[in-house]
């Protein structure tokens, strides 16, 4: 599959690149960002897939998170795809910020007019890894996945539905139980139809209850004062309850942070890096560093 380089920037000793390609699953041109650390020039590197949240593109994470520095340090390739197919000219795709464009919810849609293009689940779990492994110096056995909000939901379901595929999984303020929250209900009914049993295949809480496979180790960070937490969009307690019962290892950390987009680390954990300037989730690059460190722990590096 042909990749077209859209941009390339030297960053932290490596390269932050953006590529475009013709996607077979999504049937449109898709962009994705990939960071190549210095180690990639000589060795195969583990890969981390970062799934962004509602309204994001491949740009948000790479410009705001500051993830290149820890990725370079640990020799990680970081892939940040887009959040939905683009330019498909589907009626109604741009009407809502939480459904359609920029809100693919990482499912394979079964309903018209979405089912042709909105196959983000297969894109993320099959097409993209094949593409990445074919074009970049990756260690195909060492993959991990992470994401924020809707992307957190995506990361969790990809890991739960593919036991053993990902060495590590983590999420920031993920949507844990989409079947029970307004966002999920809106998206699933649109993409998957009214039959709720079809929704279960894409709900992390339901999947965790039925999970059997190699042991997972899930790390979830959640801002305490996140407006979407209090609006019952995220529902982490449901996931924790199920994981406690089914003995799925999860470490869930409630951070003293004021909004969904401002997931700062607490003082106790972010020693050398100091405090991040307020205003943006992407200053959770600090948190990202911890996540990277965890991937290191899990033997990815």
């Amino acid at each position: 599959m042909a990749l077209t380089q859209v941009s390339s920037n030297r960053c932290a000793g490596g390269f932050q690149k953006v590529f475009e390609h013709e996607s077979t699953e999504l049937k449109c041109k898709m962009k994705f960002a990939v960071y190549l650390p210095p180690k990639a020039e000589t060795d195969k590197c583990p890969v981390m897939y970062w799934l962004s949240g509602l309204t994001c593109t491949e740009q948000n994470f790479i410009t705001k998170a500051g993830s290149q520095v820890p990725a370079a340090e640990h020799g990680l390739i970081v892939v940040a795809p887009d959040t939905s197919p683009r330019g498909c000219n589907i009626e109604g795709e741009d009407e809502n910020w939480d459904f359609g464009t920029g809100a693919g919810f990482y499912v394979n849609a079964t309903q018209d007019p979405w089912k042709t293009n909105y196959r983000m689940y297969s894109y993320i779990t099959e097409e993209l890894p094949k593409l990445i492994n074919a074009n970049f110096p990756t260690d195909p056995d060492k993959m991990s996945i992470s994401g924020h909000s809707m992307g957190g939901h995506g990361a969790l379901i990809c890991a739960l539905k593919n036991p053993g595929k990902y060495k590590a999984v983590s999420a920031f303020a993920p949507i844990c139980n989409p079947m029970q929250c307004p966002w999920g209900q809106k998206a699933f009914s649109g993409y998957l139809g009214p039959d709720r049993s079809a929704w279960e295949a894409y709900d992390a809480t339901v999947l965790a209850a039925a999970y059997c496979g190699p042991q997972l180790d899930v790390l979830i960070d959640q801002g305490r004062d996140d407006q979407f937490l209090s609006a019952s969009q995220l529902l982490p307690d449901n996931l924790i309850a199920v994981c406690s019962e089914k003995k799925v290892p999860v470490v869930f950390r409630l951070q003293p942070v004021s909004s969904n987009t401002r997931l700062l680390t607490d003082q106790h954990d972010s020693c050398m890096l100091g405090k991040a300037p307020p205003g943006d989730m992407w200053s959770s690059g600090f948190v990202f560093i911890r996540v990277i460190a965890l991937f290191f722990l899990y033997g990815l590096v």
Partner: protein, 552 residues
């Protein structure tokens, strides 16, 4: 009208005297008023009651001069009665006042008597101790004088002997000269005659026995009178650890005087390994295995002297690496990781080294330490092997708890571990039950013993709390913990301490799951700490090689 209560019991003691005194004082106070009335106005107080003072009204009924003083006329009886009441009351009040004054003066007397008595006692004591001190100093002086005299006597005797020696030498010299002259004399017969006469003299003088042992000292003393005094002996510093190799040795010494020194002479001789058993040789020390600790870079060896007499120094021997000399009963040796060393200790004094102590084996794989039993809370029991702690349900006797000047935890049921004081990486594991409420982590050596682990800024710990609803986990430092949920309860927890990075991490060993990391620059050395918040047990596992993920 009742007067204020005064405890009858107290006044009892002095009532009699009070009565006596008050008789006189009232006489004086009232200006003779009561003299006319007599002394029956005071009532006896009972011993056991707190009755307030009760007074019977005066029974004499003489017309009151008070009334007369006030100049009231009219109904004499009425006024007299009223006035006599007033007078009675006044009398009573005055009586009370007098009593109290008496009481006060009595107390003062008692006070003075007590002061006097104690003064006297103090004097006695001082005197007594002065006597003792005097006696002692006198004895000391006597003894010193005795020694002085002995010294003088001996010196004089030696001097005399020396003189006698000198004289004998002179005589001998003369004899030799005479003999030589005689020998030179051509007359052989004369020579024989004279020599025969000389011989007995020579023999007499030769029989003179000089105590050779004393001479060199005395000679030195005599010599030193005329010449520049020899400098005082330098003092060799105790050998520092790691100052010796198998072929070289570093010796340091100091001179503690202002003597001029031209040069030093260093004398040495090898000490033979297998010297025959000499009573002056020290006994071998005994290594205290429980108090030894190790980590991949070093081992801390502690031992008991094994000698009642003082010992000059100790030698710690490692197979392969040669010897290191040590002045105290412990030694920190730098080692290489991942090896096994056999270590023994010898005690050394002037007589030579003792035989080897029993050998211990130290493995520089992982970090090894034992629990410091003197830090354990009284309610904490430690198993025989020293690695499991129990918090029982039984109440301990108060006597066990009320210990002062103690190193033990007094509130938190906890104990510290004796981690080797090396600022490297250390890893250990703790095994718990699902229902054990524990606190595990590290604390500085001087962490407050009356505080709970994690509640102050000198301890960092993971805490497990069991609520009816769920298991709760906290990572406490300075009373604060992040808000965490853990879905699978760890029963074997790995603790990884990295001084350089300033991290303390906790893992669920079974899942190889990272739980939490404290970031803190540990300025002082810290000790592992283990505490139980409810009856239960936990086991410490040391000497484990840290898994890769622990210090990733």
């Amino acid at each position: 009208m009742d007067l204020h209560d005064i405890r009858g019991g107290r006044l009892d003691v002095i009532t009699e005297e009070a009565e006596e005194l008050s008789r006189e004082s009232t006489n004086m106070a009232d200006g003779g008023l009561r003299a006319a009335r007599g002394v029956s106005t005071f009532q006896r107080f009972s011993v056991d009651t707190d009755e307030s003072l009760c007074f019977e009204p005066c029974e004499d009924g003489l017309p009151s001069p008070i009334g007369a003083e006030r100049g009231l006329h009219g109904d004499v009886f009425e006024v007299a009665e009223a006035e006599s009441d007033g007078v009675t009351i006044r009398k009573q009040l005055q009586g009370k006042v007098t009593e109290m004054e008496n009481f006060a003066s009595h107390l003062e007397e008692i006070f003075l008597t007590v002061e006097e008595n104690f003064g006297r006692q103090e004097q006695h004591l001082e005197q007594h101790y002065n006597d003792v001190l005097q006696t002692l100093s006198q004895r000391c002086d006597d003894r010193a004088a005795g020694l002085e005299e002995e010294k003088k006597g001996k010196l004089e005797a030696l001097y005399k002997q020396l003189l006698a020696c000198g004289q004998a030498m002179d005589v001998s010299k003369e004899l030799i000269e005479t003999a030589q002259e005689v020998y030179r004399c051509p007359d052989e017969r004369l020579f024989l005659k004279v020599s025969q006469a000389l011989l007995p003299c020579a023999s007499v003088s030769l029989e003179f026995n000089t105590p050779l042992a004393n001479l060199p000292d005395v000679k030195t003393m005599m010599d030193s009178i005329n010449i520049v005094p020899a400098p005082s002996a330098p003092v060799i510093n105790p050998q520092t650890p790691n100052s010796a190799t198998q072929t070289s040795l570093r010796v340091c010494w100091s001179l503690f005087s202002d003597d001029t020194v031209e040069y030093y002479e260093l004398y040495y001789r090898p000490v033979l390994e297998d010297t025959p058993a000499d009573s002056t040789l020290p006994s071998p020390p005994v290594i205290k295995q429980r108090e030894c600790a190790s980590c991949p870079e070093a081992a801390l060896i502690r031992w008991e002297s094994g000698n009642t007499d003082p010992v000059d120094s100790y030698t710690v021997e490692l197979r392969e690496t040669g010897t290191v000399a040590v002045p105290t009963c412990q030694c920190l040796i730098q080692l290489q990781a991942g090896r096994r060393y056999l270590i023994c200790v010898r005690a050394v004094n002037i007589g030579g080294p003792s035989s080897r102590s029993e050998v211990i084996s130290v493995s520089t794989t992982g970090t090894l330490f034992s629990l410091l039993e003197d830090t354990a809370h009284p309610c904490l029991c430690i198993s025989e092997d020293g690695f499991t702690i129990f918090y029982g349900e039984e109440e301990l006797p108060i006597s066990a708890m009320a210990l002062e000047d103690n190193n033990a935890f007094t509130r938190c049921v906890a104990v510290l571990g004796g981690l080797i004081p090396v600022r490297g990486r250390h890893y250990w594991e703790v095994e718990v039950d699902d229902g054990t409420e524990f606190r595990i982590g590290v604390a500085s050596e001087d962490t407050e013993r009356n505080s709970y682990l994690g509640a102050n800024n000198t301890s960092w710990c993971m805490r497990h709390i069991l609520t009816p609803a769920r298991h709760k986990y906290e990572f406490l430092h300075n009373g604060w913990s992040p808000d965490l949920r853990i879905t699978v309860n760890p029963v074997r927890i790995g603790v990884a301490l990295d001084y350089e990075r300033g991290t303390l991490s906790f893992f669920n060993v079974a899942l190889e799951q990272h739980l939490h990391t404290f970031q803190c620059h540990f300025q002082n050395h810290v000790q592992p700490c283990f505490g139980l918040d409810n009856p239960g047990a936990l086991t410490v596992h040391t000497g484990i090689e840290a898994p890769k993920y622990a210090f990733a």
